[in-house]
Amino acid sequence: MEFDPMKPIWAQVARQLKQQIVSGALAPGSKLPGGRDLALQYGINPNTAARIYQELEREGVCATRRGMGTYITEDEEKIRSLRESMIREALERFLSDLAGLGIRREEALVRLQKEEGKA
């Protein structure tokens, strides 16, 4: 994974993990790699990896079972709301990018449909 070195790396990896959870690539209740393995997998500092799990736990997306490791939540409601907030976030980013080009929401919608038609 390529990182933007100007932004905290933990946030970038956490974001990717959440995307995988929302998309279903990581199933609810499944075990996540240990902190060291996560560090190796992404080529990041182990302290950064530990921070990622701390944040995901704080958000309730995963839970650490003592001596067992870190697991993705089985709470479907939680995952649904994570999905909602990530979709909203993506849409807002999309719209704000277009707003930066002076394109209003209605026009944006039209353009999107047009692009969709091309594809």
């Binding site: 070195p5 932004k7 560090a39 182990p46």
Partner: protein, 233 residues
């Protein structure tokens, strides 16, 4: 774990390391940064006990570095330093003879990963292979402190990934790793703290994630900000 107290080293009239005070803690990977000749290597050699300070102190677990600290501190210098008669296997044997924390099993595993053979003569290794051998023999120790001076020098892009993986595997909450390199980008994700040294003086020690969070800058950005006007880069 390593405390540098007003540490100074002069060569004639040149102050290679000039009053450096800092405390380096275990559980972290430090990137030691600065242009060539800024004093990184000299500082490391003093921490390894190879060079005697002109002034100040360098302590390992509260004691001045010396014979005892060398049991627990692994140091890899930039330059190749093996005896000319040694083969790759001899180099491992030598470390096994002197360091209790050296594991022959780990060494052989590292040699495989670095694509080195025990029968190769150290004298006739290419510079890239010699660099890999230095890493293998140093990292095969289970040392509390591991200092690697320019671990990416002379090493091609693919092997650098392998070395970064080795370094990350070595990291643990009980260990202190210090890497110096002018290839700042190579260390961006694996280090969590950076030591900036300029003309022998300590500029600052920063937590990298905190720096990205608060200032929105990368280690490389900070490097340019500190040294840019010195080197004109």
């Amino acid at each position: 774990m390593i405390t540098s107290k007003n540490l100074t080293k002069t060569f004639g009239s040149k102050r290679a390391v000039d009053g450096v005070s800092m405390v380096l803690e275990k559980g972290h990977i430090y990137a030691m940064l600065g242009p060539n000749g800024s004093g990184k290597t000299t500082w490391m050699k003093m921490a390894a006990g190879l060079m005697k300070p002109t002034g100040g102190e360098i302590l390992f677990n509260g004691e001045p570095v010396g014979v005892e600290s060398r049991k627990h501190v692994a140091y890899m210098s930039t330059e190749p330093y093996f005896y000319t008669w040694m083969t790759v296997a001899d180099a491992g044997k030598y470390y096994a003879d002197f360091f209790e924390d050296f594991s022959m099993e780990k060494y052989e595993e590292l040699l495989r990963r670095m694509e080195l053979e025990g029968s190769m003569k150290t004298r006739s290794l290419s510079s890239g292979m010699a660099a890999k051998l230095k890493i293998a023999v140093t990292m095969a120790r289970d040392a509390q402190v591991c200092m690697l001076d320019e671990p990416f020098n002379g090493i091609d892009l693919l092997a650098r990934d392998e070395i970064r993986a080795c370094i990350l595997q070595e990291a643990s909450p009980e260990k202190l790793l210090i890497l110096s390199s002018h290839l700042v980008e190579e260390m961006e994700a694996i280090a969590d703290r950076a030591i900036f040294i300029r003309e022998g003086k300590l500029v600052e020690v920063r937590d990298l994630e905190e720096m990205r969070d608060l200032d929105g800058v990368s280690m490389a950005d900070r490097y340019r900000a500190i040294y840019g006007h010195v080197e004109g880069v």
